[in-house]
């Protein structure tokens, strides 16, 4: 087997050196009645060529986003990632290194984590950021738990503009740990009355902007109300590119900012791996989940970086830990850092403008299709259409015409019939005039 360096001669010699007769002598602790004889009922080893053929055949059955006019967003976005990013993250020294427990020989990882934390803090206009979470949705769950720890309360209020699957993650955790969650009904236009839900038992209020439906939300009044009640505002985003153009949650009063970083540096990958961004105020840093990288000096006084505040973490605190998390999304986080370093403020701002511009162009085209209504007045690169037909059917018919048109809300919210005709549509820098025209034409046809 190509990955195993030992030859049969080696194996024999080594067993002899160890002083046993057969390899099974080393497995003697496994009770005989459960020891496997023979092989697992699986195919035998395969050459590279065979593996490539089999997996390529599966891959080719899927319609890749780059091969069609593509407008699906709703928490994951098709962006163009420079070739440099994928090249660099495949450097052996990044790809095949472990968690930087030995900082003297992992300064590469540690320094980019420090750069990443700085980038995230600046993007969100918050004091501190951690070294990433699994993704935006699990990060949101952790943010709610953190708010409970900070406020010593256990009631979370979730906006109806929160991504339904993010809501489910929070609800699931809370159900299990006995916390309370108040989830507001779906709120496509950002008109819900969330302020009235905030009271002295509230630990946090969770608001997404741009919302799941694309609506930009004014966080300031919510922050104000929350703070009046000593509750925290958790601001969520799923499209980090929006922060290049819109006012950051930090200046709007958010206490915890959490979001999905996939758009920068990372591909769609059918939903994972992604990279969760997580930032908060300085005063809450010791209640923060996840890994943190900090600056220090070495024995010669040279600047260096280490993992720090690990006394919060499970491998030290065990059942008293702030979280059970013991990885971050290292490589995705590196991809984010490099792509963001390439963009810089100038590039990110321009990228955000192009995204918004393409969305506006699309909005105009689609608004003009008879029967279509756009529900959002203020949006970034995503908005919701109200269609005269069931959105799921329309999307299928558009797919048959070679356009992947967006997410029918009913796929995630099947039980709310009011949402059956809603379609969430995203547009990024990858969409061309031809893509948009094809979408509008096909939609017109399907709705005719």
């Amino acid at each position: 087997m190509r990955y195993l360096p030992l030859s049969n001669t080696d194996r024999g010699d080594m067993l002899a050196r160890i002083g046993v007769n057969s390899i099974d002598d080393l497995f003697a602790d496994i009770p005989e009645n459960v020891r496997l004889e023979g092989l697992l009922d699986l195919p035998k080893r395969a050459s590279e060529m065979q593996v490539e053929r089999k997996l390529s055949a599966m891959a080719e059955k899927n319609t890749s986003a780059g091969s069609v006019p593509f407008f699906v967003g709703a928490g994951a976005y098709k962006h163009h990632v420079p070739a440099t990013v994928d090249h660099l993250i495949q450097r052996s020294e990044f790809l095949t290194s472990y968690t930087p427990y030995q900082p003297e020989i992992t300064q590469g990882t540690l320094q980019y984590l420090f750069e990443f934390q700085t980038q995230v803090a600046r993007l969100t206009a918050m004091d501190v950021a951690n070294a990433s979470m699994y993704d935006g949705s699990t990060g949101t769950g952790e943010a709610v738990l953190m708010a409970h720890r900070v406020t010593k309360r256990n009631k979370a209020v979730l906006s109806g503009g929160l991504h339904p699957q993010y809501r489910e993650v929070v609800e699931g955790l809370s159900n299990m740990s006995g916390d309370r969650v108040v989830s507001l009904p779906a709120d496509p236009m950002g008109t819900e009355d969330i302020l009235s839900q905030i009271d002295d038992e509230t630990s946090c209020v969770v608001v997404q902007s741009p919302s799941f439906y694309g609506q930009l939300i004014d966080l300031k009044p919510i922050a104000e109300k929350a703070h009046q009640h000593k509750a925290l505002l958790i601001a969520v985003f799923t499209e980090v590119v929006s922060l290049g153009l819109i006012e950051p949650p930090g200046t709007q009063g958010a206490d915890i900012v959490v979001g999905e970083g996939q758009s920068i540096g990372n591909g769609l990958n059918f939903g994972g791996p992604y990279v969760g961004l997580f930032a908060t105020r300085q005063k809450y840093v010791r209640q923060m989940p996840g890994r943190l990288c900090g600056e220090t000096v070495d024995a010669e006084g040279k600047r260096g970086f280490v993992l720090t505040l690990s006394t919060r973490e499970q491998h030290i605190r065990r059942d008293k830990a702030t979280s059970n998390i013991c990885t971050n999304s290292g490589l995705c986080c590196l991809a984010f850092t490099i792509h963001m370093a390439l963009l810089g403020q100038a590039g990110l701002t321009k990228l955000a403008r192009i995204n918004h511009g393409n969305a506006v162009r699309l909005r105009k085209l689609l608004s003009a299709v008879p029967g279509v209504e756009v529900l959002n007045a203020a949006y970034f690169n995503e908005f919701t259409l109200s269609l005269p037909k069931v959105a799921e059917d329309v999307v299928e018919q558009l797919a048959e015409r070679g356009v992947l048109a967006g997410l029918p809300v009913s796929r995630l919210e099947p039980e709310n019939k009011d949402l059956a005709n809603l379609l969430v549509v995203a547009s990024t820098e990858v969409n061309t005039d031809e893509d948009r025209a094809a979408f509008a034409a096909a939609l017109k046809e399907v709705l005719a």
Partner: protein, 499 residues
């Protein structure tokens, strides 16, 4: 040359990405436009390339040397897997594009699930957990859901003291009370203690979280009895699968009475660690726990594969406890793991486990006369645990010893874990090492041990001498944490100096 931070040489005007020119955009942002600078430094492409290449060169990696971190399983990461994960049909598909446009994605997930179930001897698997600890959470949530469904609410989770910290942390997160179980002198769970503890908490036992092979590198011989005891007490057996790599093809957790076990795809099936992630932690489930598997899952029927994403779509015998994450889990890791498993096949997977165990024992016999085995001379599984008694009175600490390994060109082993022995040193070579590589490692370790015993403390106390950094001040870092870069204050110019 020292490599600066990107903020120290990049600029707000520089960008390494050319974007197509915009023509007159009308903004429809409402009142939400960002006004202030973001403060993100940019680099031209050649600058970024050089910066990150240079940074990378300060890292140790499995591609550059033996990486004996016990329980972390740093093994070879085949590049075939990277290539496969980058096929556009996997890497460039959206989690919410029409299901009809991604039949190959469902097929891949289902195929990997099949390989995982067969190799663990189970019939269900929750694929979506994002990492090992997330898998633990998932498994324990399924256990809690099963108790709830049965109208029970037991509070106690038993955890041996040698467990990974994630185990108690996970149990606590779900409101369980953690009761620790001591080990016997041989490093494995003491059945008598276990019986007593169960009796003490009769009717309140939610389950046990046991790592097997355990973190002392030993297979729990009494695993079947433990499973029976816990089942008889109405609890479930959660197995931490961190060390599954030792027994793939040799024994199936399902046959051992395990009800739930996460599989660290990055440990056992070689998806790259990437400096700390992303991981992926699918959880195999016993028939009793299977109904509670979280959303989403794939249902297999005569009509083919069906994706179940919402409660509305579940059938009567499917009672998902909720959802672990948005979307479908770590697809990119699934592709790599399946590519790895298919490459090995049933014969290769078994051989890999055997070689991993063989290599660990080869190191054990190479060092056991000089270093100290806390549980006596006996075969270990895929990793060998030493304690620090061989350093007694030498003036060299476990930490010093580890740092001195760096100067010899090695990444240190896992230190101070598991907590059950003093100054633990846990060495896992994996199956990826050749005999020559092991011989060199053993010789180096022997040299270090003898050096320590000869009292050459300087070699250790000041180590590392040859790394990109000398020993770093971790205490100082935690005391006053500096977690991001801030613009240095402009140098104070005194009126005199300015003249």
């Amino acid at each position: 040359m020292e490599e600066p931070l990107l903020f120290e040489f990049g600029s707000l005007e520089t960008t390494g990405v050319d974007l197509d020119e915009e023509d007159g955009i009308e903004f429809e942002l409402g009142a939400f436009e960002r006004k202030a600078d973001i403060g993100l430094a940019g680099l031209a492409e050649p600058e970024a390339m050089r910066h990150y290449v240079r940074l990378s060169r300060n890292n140790y990696a499995i591609d550059s040397g033996l990486y004996p971190l016990g329980s972390c399983t740093m093994k070879h990461n085949p590049r075939l897997n990277e290539k496969m994960a980058r096929l556009p049909g996997f890497s460039d598909i959206h989690p919410l594009q029409p299901v009809s446009s991604v039949p190959g994605a469902l097929e891949l997930i289902d195929e990997l699930a099949h390989w995982l179930m067969v190799s663990t001897g189970t019939h269900a698997v929750a694929m979506s957990p994002k990492a090992g600890a997330h898998g633990e959470l998932c498994g324990m949530m399924a256990i809690k859901a099963a108790h709830t469904a049965a109208g029970r609410d037991p509070k106690i989770v038993l955890v041996p003291e040698s467990a990974h910290g994630t185990n108690p942390a996970t149990a606590a997160l779900l409101g369980f009370k953690v009761v620790s179980i001591d080990a016997k002198e041989d490093g494995t769970v003491d059945l008598a203690t276990l019986k007593n503890t169960i009796a003490e908490h009769a009717d309140n036992i939610a389950g046990i979280m046991l790592t097997n092979p355990n973190t002392c590198g030993l297979f729990e011989r009494d695993v079947k009895e433990i499973a029976d005891l816990i089942h008889d007490a109405g609890g479930f057996f959660y197995c931490d699968g961190a060390n599954f790599n030792a027994i793939v093809g040799k024994a199936r957790p399902g046959d051992l009475g395990v009800d739930a076990m996460h599989i660290n795809l990055h440990k056992t099936f070689s998806t790259p660690h990437g400096g700390g992630g992303p991981g992926s932690g699918p959880v195999v489930l016993s028939d009793r726990l299977a109904p509670y598997a979280p959303l989403p899952f794939i249902r297999k029927s005569d009509a083919g594969l069906e994706l179940v994403e919402t409660n509305a779509a579940t059938s009567d015998d499917e009672q998902p406890f909720g959802r672990m994450t948005a979307f479908h889990g770590q697809m990119g890791m699934y592709v790599r793991a399946l590519s790895y498993m298919m490459s090995h096949g049933s014969d290769g997977l078994k051989q890999a486990s055997e070689d991993a165990v063989l290599n660990a024992n080869y190191i054990r016999v190479g060092l056991q006369d000089l270093m100290s085995l806390p549980f006596g001379v006996r075969p270990c599984m895929h990793e060998v645990l030493f304690d620090d008694s061989f350093l007694k009175d030498s003036g060299v600490t476990t930490l010093d010893f580890a740092k001195a390994m760096i100067d010899e060109g090695y990444h240190p082993m896992t230190m101070y874990f598991p907590l059950v022995v003093h100054g633990a040193m846990l060495i896992e070579p994996t199956e990826s090492e050749s005999r020559a590589s092991l011989d060199l490692f053993v010789a180096t370790m022997r040299d270090l041990v003898m050096s320590a015993q000869r009292g050459e403390t300087e070699r250790f106390s000041g180590a590392p001498y040859l790394a990109p950094r000398r020993r770093l001040d971790e205490t100082g870092a935690a005391r006053k944490p500096v977690l991001k870069w801030t613009e240095p204050e402009p140098a104070q110019v005194t009126p005199e100096a300015a003249e």
